[in-house]
Each structure stands twice: as structure tokens, then as C-alpha cells.
């Protein structure tokens, strides 16, 4: 019964999304307030219906209803409850449902929090989002129905892929999708503005908090995925340039460019066309990512089952949505004014350079990700593009970007003076170079690559300090000065410091990590990074749905001082009977100790992989700081005090809303 209710809810949702795409849009065209007024209630109904379908699927998982094909394929009665819930998005059909669920949630947020928008604008925005949800609902119902019955019903389920049985699975996909789909808001705002011909500073100010909110979610989502890969895959790596990772990284890069470009459009009215194009691009890349992941055109460690019919459907949808919006762009953009002029050296030009670098970076990730597909499609052979390509491309792009990150915030709008900037930043430059060399000298090895990475980190910190000092200097004391700073500006500084922490972590772990694969018998010891690892014991333990060989690894330092004891596992899950390594990690601010079990040899000894990873947690800490910066920026009072700002700008549609 419950699956049927979910099914009905999905069909109704499709009908409502059809209404939502058509009626308010028509109303906006005809300036009919009653029709436009339907946008918000329809968006709310859509959320309730999709939410009901989502809950129905979750209930089927919780109740172990193996008469539902999707539940039988992705769950098992022995699966612990949290993973039965996460199992909802453990496969293709449920991932799509999660996607639509997130879209409906963003729509609800727009409907709730955008009452101050002119009615026609809001109607168009919600209608555009309604169209996107219609496409995905149709896709689900036609090719990937999560509620399909399995008759006769299975006695037990095939279990969730053991790789996915991890707390990471509970948090990572919802957060990632929240970010992915969140760019649909900026996209819908842009399409609405192109349709209505109202590309102005107001539009940029309305779009900014939504874009930043989506970017924050995406940042956290990618971070969670990276942490998960780090401890779950057992290779000690945190980023693999896998096509599926790239699929989430591309919208992130484009979204970062968009946030910066929106700042210029809001403050100076420039870059309007470019900003709109970026908003379309960021969401298009989210859709492209969905296509790449769901169609199976690329092989990836995230091996999803692929079905050509599904791929074709998403591709058609992709062409329709992106093609239509780019056509609209080509038609409307020429009529949009250029905004205010700016000098060759100014905050505008520096932000433009930032945008160019970020977009080139996005393009090179796209190229690297799709290159195997291009060659294969042209019959030129099969290749795979690996980390060496991305590393080679990324360092030369990120170095100037980080340099600009230091200069940009200090430069003036419209026209900046080079000598003045040089004087203000000379100490930052000196301090960052000295700190870079000193850090490497202390760590015991100086290399060019590390110098570049560490310099980026110190340069950001030093220039943020200069910027902060310049801004609070005029105030009577530091506390007053800090208090007077706009929240958005503090947010920017915090986010930039996050990049510094990230760059520091990456540089340190790359240069100074130690990795050792050793053969160990019980009571064997080995030394890695100044710590002594002793294998005390390996014994068999029973988990809820797996059996594991659990090792006891005692770690000491400086003679016999105990540091900690780690318990890495080698698990075999009963249903799918594939072995999984469960690495054990002693995390710390200055280093992680990482132990992962390999194979057992015939002699009874174990292959054990041990890593000493200095400052690796700074990578994710940096992402978290970036996200906090984003949250601060999005929470700026300026965006909430919009009502008063609106009152000062004449809005023809305002009367209709009242």
C-alpha cells in the first residue's frame, strides 16, 4: 500500500509541476496577478507531494518491504537502521528522488523567503524551477521508477553496497545534492531576469544569498565525500580526480566564479551578461554532472549501473534545458547594457581575471574528464586521464588566482593605483616568503612545489591581515572597528582564510607524508614518521551483517610512551561477500596516523599499510572554514533588509503584488 501511495504522489507531483511550469509563466506574460499568485501555493503543494513520495520510499526501506524492487536491490533485513534510511539514495532511482526532493526544498525556500520580490519575477522563477522538476519527475516515472514492485517478492534484499555502509553515506549525498540543485535557484533567477528584461543590481542582490547558500552546501558536500574517500577506500588519498568527483567540482568552480562576478554586478552594474552566463553555466554543469554519473558514459570508481535509455533521456533533457537557456541568452543578452566602465587596474579587472582563471580551470577539468570520451567517440582509442594531467594544469592556474586573492580585496573599484597597492602589500609579500622558507626549513626539506603551495597559504593570511588592519585602523579601537565591518566582508575574509588552510594542508601532506607497506606478524613493530607501530593481535569479530578480522595496533612514540591503539578491520559482508578495508585513524591537528589492513599471506602474516600524514585534516578544515565564510556572507543584513531597499526602487509590478 505504502509504495502505491508514493507512486500516486509522484504522478500527482508531475501534474502539479506541469501546472507550475505553465500557469504562472502565462500569468507573468499576461500580467495576470491571480495566475501569478498560484506560483507559491503550487510550489508548496509540489514540495508536499514529493516529500510524501520520499517518505513512502523511506518507509518501505525501514519496513524491509522487499516486494519493492529498489528496496530489494539496495537493502537487507540485517542492515542497520541508519543505513536502511541512507539506502533510499543508495541506488539510481532513489538518487533521482533525492535530487527532486532537494529541488522541491529549494523551491519551497524561494516561495517562503522571497515575498519581497516583484510578483512577476517570483512567478517566472518558480515556473522555471517547476519545469526542471517536471523533467526529472518524468525521467523517474518513465525510466527509473523507485516504486516498481517485485513479484514474487524477494525473501531478503541484496543488501546495500558495503562501500556505502558508512556514516558518510548518510550525510554526503544529501549535502552534495543540496549544493548541486541549489544552483538551480540562481539559474531560475537568471532565466526569469532574461525573460523579464530586468537584469540589474537588484537582480544580482536577490541572487547572491541563494548562490552563496548553494555554494556552501556544495563545499560541505564535496568535503564530506573527500573525508569519506580518505578513510573508507583505505588508500589514504583524499581526492582522486575521478569523473564523479570532477562532476561535483566543476559546478563548484563555476559557482565560485559566479559568486565573485555577482559582487561586481551588484556593486557596479558591470559584467551583467557574463554573470547571467555563469549562472546558466553553473547549473548546466550540475545537470551535466548528473548526466555523467547516471548515464555511465564514463567509467569511474563510482561504478553505477548504466542503461542507455536513461542516458538518452537525460541527454535529451540536457539539450532542451541548456540549449533553450543559451538560446534565450543569445537572444536577450545583446540588449543588456554594459554597465559602468572601469580602469585596467581596478577591483573589477582583478575580479574579471579571477573569473577567467576559474573558468579556465573549470574548462580544463571538463576537458580532462571528457577527453577519454572524445577520443573514444572519434574512434581514436581508449585512454584515461589521471591525476598527473590535473596536477600539471591546476598549479599554474591556482597560483595567479591566489595572488589575485591577496590583491583584489585591497584594490579600489573603478580605478586602482599600482604603486599604492605595492606599498600596502609589500610587508605581506615579505612575511609570506619568509614564513614559507622558515616552515620548510623546520620541516626539514625545501622544494619548489612546496614553496609555491605554502607561499599561497601564507600570502592569503598576510594579505587578509593587511586588509583587515586597513579597514579597522580608522576606528577608535579594534573591537569597534571589527563591529563596524559588514558581515559579508568578514565572510569573504574567513572564506579566503579557508583557502589558505586548505593550501597549507595540501602542501604539507604532499611533501612530508610517509607511507609504508609492511608485512607484519603478531608482535612485529615498524617505525613510520617517528611513531612505532606494533601489531598486538588480529582476531575475528562479528558485525551486524559482516564478519571482520580486527587488528590491534599499539602506537608508541619516543621510547615507550603510548600514543594510542588503533583497530583497523578487514570486513567481509555476508550478502555481497566482497571484502572491505576499514581503516583506523588517529586524527590530530598536526598529523593523522592511518592504518589499513591489506591481505593475509599464506604464512599468516598480514600486509599492513601505514601512513603518517602531517596536517591532512587542514584540508577539510579549510573547506569547513570556507563554508563558514560563505554562511557569514549569506547572512549579511543587507540581504534581509531588502524590503526597504525595494521601496526606494520603483517597481511597476509592486502594485500587483499588494
Amino acid at each position: 500500500m505504502i509504495p502505491e501511495l508514493g507512486q500516486i504522489a509522484l504522478v500527482l507531483a508531475l501534474a502539479v509541476s506541469l501546472l507550475l511550469s505553465a500557469v504562472p509563466m502565462w500569468g507573468a506574460y499576461k500580467a495576470d496577478a491571480a495566475l501569478m499568485g498560484l506560483a507559491r501555493p503550487l510550489a508548496r503543494v509540489l514540495f508536499v507531494l514529493i516529500g510524501a513520495a520520499f517518505i513512502a520510499l523511506m518507509a518501505s526501506f525501514i519496513r524491509n518491504d522487499f516486494s519493492v524492487l529498489y528496496v530489494a536491490s539496495n537493502s537487507n533485513s540485517a542492515l542497520p537502521l541508519p543505513y536502511r534510511i541512507a539506502g533510499v539514495w543508495g541506488g539510481h532511482e532513489g538518487s533521482l528522488l533525492l535530487w527532486v526532493m532537494m529541488l522541491a526544498f529549494w523551491m519551497l525556500c524561494v516561495a517562503q523567503f522571497s515575498q519581497h520580490l516583484p510578483q512577476a519575477v517570483l512567478a517566472r522563477i518558480l515556473a522555471v524551477m517547476g519545469m526542471i522538476s517536471m523533467g526529472f519527475l518524468l525521467f523517474m516515472l518513465v525510466t527509473s521508477n523507485p516504486f516498481e514492485r517485485l513479484l514474487p517478492m524477494a525473501l531478503d534484499g541484496r543488501d546495500l553496497n558495503p562501500l556505502l555502509q558508512d556514516p558518510g553515506m548518510v550525510a554526503h549525498p544529501p549535502m552534495l545534492y543540496m549544493g548541486y540543485v541549489g544552483f538551480s535557484v540562481a539559474f531560475a533567477f537568471s532565466i526569469a531576469a532574461l525573460l523579464g528584461g530586468q537584469l540589474d543590481a537588484n537582480w544580482a542582490r536577490w541572487t547572491r544569498p541563494w548562490t552563496i547558500a548553494a555554494w556552501v552546501c556544495l563545499t560541505i558536500g564535496i568535503m564530506l565525500g573527500s573525508v569519506w574517500a580518505y578513510y573508507e577506500l583505505g588508500w589514504g588519498g583524499w581526492w582522486f580526480w575521478d569523473p564523479v568527483e570532477n562532476a561535483s567540482f566543476m559546478p563548484w568552480l563555476a559557482g565560485t566564479a559566479l559568486i565573485h562576478s555577482l559582487a561586481v554586478t551588484e556593486k557596479r552594474g558591470s559584467f551583467k551578461n557574463w554573470t547571467v552566463l555563469l549562472a546558466i553555466t553553473a547549473f548546466s554543469l550540475s545537470l551535466l554532472g548528473t548526466f555523467l554519473v547516471r548515464s555511465g558514459v564514463l567509467s569511474s570508481v563510482h561504478a553505477f549501473a548504466s542503461d542507455p535509455k536513461r542516458g538518452l533521456f537525460i541527454l535529451a533533457f540536457l539539450v532542451l534545458v541548456i540549449g533553450a537557456s543559451l538560446t534565450l541568452y543569445a537572444w536577450r543578452a545583446p540588449t543588456v547594457g554594459l554597465g559602468q566602465r572601469f580602469g585596467l587596474l581596478s577591483k573589477e579587472s582583478l575580479l574579471l581575471a579571477n573569473n577567467v582563471l576559474l573558468i579556465v580551470a573549470t574548462g580544463s577539468v571538463l576537458l580532462g574528464t571528457l577527453y577519454p570520451l572524445f577520443l573514444d567517440a572519434m574512434g581514436l582509442g581508449k585512454i584515461s586521464v589521471g591525476p598527473p594531467y590535473f596536477d600539471t594544469v591546476f598549479v599554474p592556474l591556482m597560483t595567479p588566482l591566489v595572488f589575485l586573492m591577496g590583491v583584489g580585496p585591497l584594490a579600489r573599484w573603478k580605478q586602482a593605483e599600482l604603486p599604492e597597492l605595492a606599498v600596502r602589500l609589500r610587508w605581506a609579500l615579505v612575511v609570506s616568503v619568509v614564513a614559507t622558507l622558515a616552515t620548510q626549513w623546520l620541516a626539514g626539506k625545501i622544494t619548489l612545489g612546496t614553496s609555491v603551495g605554502l607561499w599561497m597559504a601564507f600570502w592569503i593570511v598576510a594579505s587578509v591581515c593587511v586588509d583587515l588592519w586597513d579597514k579597522i585602523k580608522p576606528a577608535s579601537n579594534i573591537v569597534n572597528g571589527l563591529r563596524k565591518l559588514p558581515t559579508a566582508m568578514i565572510g569573504m575574509m574567513v572564506a579566503h582564510l579557508g583557502v589558505a588552510a586548505f593550501a597549507f594542508g595540501v602542501s604539507m601532506v604532499r611533501t612530508y607524508e610517509t607511507e609504508r607497506d609492511v608485512k607484519m606478524n603478531i608482535n612485529d613493530s615498524t617505525e613510520v614518521g617517528g611513531y612505532v607501530f606494533t601489531l598486538r593481535d588480529v582476531r575475528e569479530v562479528q558485525g551486524p551483517n559482516f564478519v571482520a578480522a580486527r587488528a590491534e595496533m599499539a602506537i608508541t612514540q619516543g621510547g615507550d610512551k603510548p600514543v594510542t591503539t588503533l583497530y583497523p578491520e578487514k570486513r567481509v559482508y555476508r550478502v555481497q561477500s566482497n571484502p572491505m578495508t576499514e581503516a583506523a585513524i588517529d586524527a590530530g591537528v598536526t598529523r593523522d596516523l592511518y592504518v589499513s589492513m591489506g591481505e593475509q599471506l599464506d604464512s599468516g602474516a598480514w600486509i599492513v599499510r601505514i601512513y603518517h600524514k602531517p596536517f591532512v585534516d587542514w584540508i577539510w578544515g579549510g573547506c569547513l572554514i570556507m563554508a563558514i565564510g560563505g554562511m557569514l556572507a549569506a547572512s549579511d543584513r543587507r540581504y534581509r533588509a531588502r524590503k526597504t531597499a525595494d521601496a526606494t526602487t520603483p517597481q511597476a509590478m509592486k502594485g500587483a503584488a499588494a
Partner: protein, 174 residues
């Protein structure tokens, strides 16, 4: 106006490639052995350890070599298709029983039917390695001169037989 069409143009070009990409399977790895002589072998048969078959014994006819094992799950899916195909007597099918135990292999053939003229018994998987086998099942079509003309990775399906193997066999048989 023209420069504003550029993004659309770039996207459409990309979409064409994505469409072409849908037709290709990224997991399909071309075998370097296609168009090359099959590796030499001299293996006992599964049914009779005293009898053995060499590559030279097979020259002069087109034949199909199917790599299988009783422990292989996908082979269960493939087996009925092969049994059906063998009944039509289009081409002699030989099996390569890969890294298996003799009783297990024989029991499997008793249970599921035997589509093979003979099965070679490759207990240690050495000949499998020579053939570049990395997943079971795999299937090779070998011509009169002992040259490998086709390799199927993964189970044979009625579609593969109809669209790839049978046209090739017709061509080889002239």
C-alpha cells in the same frame, strides 16, 4: 549578436559528443590479440585427463572458444544461451574451463547441459593468461588459420550472437 551564440555552439558540440559517447561502453577494453594468431596451447580435456588438444588440432576450421568456470556467476546467465546456440550447429564451441576443479566443472555441465564439443581443462589458468583473460566469461572467435577475429568480454547474449558473432561467422565461412 554572434558572440552571444558562442556558448550555445560550444554546448551543442559537447552534446553531440555526449550522444556519441552513449554508444560506447567505457568498460570495453580492446584486446591486443584481435587479428593475431591465437596463443599456442596443449591442454587435457575436462572429460578425459588422458586426452589432450593442441592448437594445431583446430586449424582449418572456424571455432569459438568460451572461457567458463563453475564458480562464475555470470556464466550461469550465459549458459542457456550457449546451449541453445550449440543446438543450431552454426559453429563448434570449445570450452576453456578456467581455474576450476574437475568434479565441479563436470557437475556444472551435467546440471546445465553441455554446449561444448570439448572443454579444455586449464586448472592453473596459464592458458587463460596467454589469452588475456581477465574476467570470466569471455569468448573468442578463431578462424581457419588460427587467428583471433573477435573477443567478447562478459556473457554472450542473443543480441551479441545476432549482431556480432553470426555476421562474422557468415563472413568467415565465405
Amino acid at each position: 549578436m554572434k558572440r552571444f551564440l558562442l556558448p550555445l555552439g560550444i554546448f551543442l558540440a559537447l552534446a553531440v559528443f555526449l550522444g556519441l559517447g552513449l554508444k560506447h561502453d567505457p568498460r570495453e577494453v580492446p584486446s591486443p590479440l584481435i587479428g593475431k594468431p591465437a596463443p599456442a596451447f596443449n591442454l587435457p580435456t575436462l572429460g578425459d585427463a588422458q586426452r589432450s588438444l593442441r592448437k594445431e588440432d583446430m586449424l582449418g576450421k572456424v571455432w569459438m572458444l568460451n572461457v567458463w568456470a563453475s564458480w562464475c556467476g555470470a556464466c550461469r546467465e550465459e549458459h542457456p544461451v550457449l546451449v541453445e546456440f550449440a543446438r543450431r550447429n552454426v559453429v563448434p564451441i570449445y570450452g576453456l574451463n578456467y581455474k576450476d576443479e574437475r568434479p565441479d566443472g563436470l557437475a556444472w555441465l551435467r546440471a546445465g547441459g553441455n554446449p561444448y564439443v570439448e572443454s579444455l581443462f586449464d586448472h592453473d589458468g596459464r592458458i587463460g593468461i596467454d589469452f588475456g583473460v581477465y574476467g570470466v566469461p569471455e569468448t573468442f572467435v578463431i578462424d581457419q588459420q588460427g587467428v583471433i577475429r573477435y573477443k567478447q568480454i562478459g556473457p554472450i547474449t542473443p543480441e551479441v550472437l545476432r549482431d556480432k558473432i553470426e555476421p562474422l561467422l557468415r563472413q568467415l565461412h565465405g
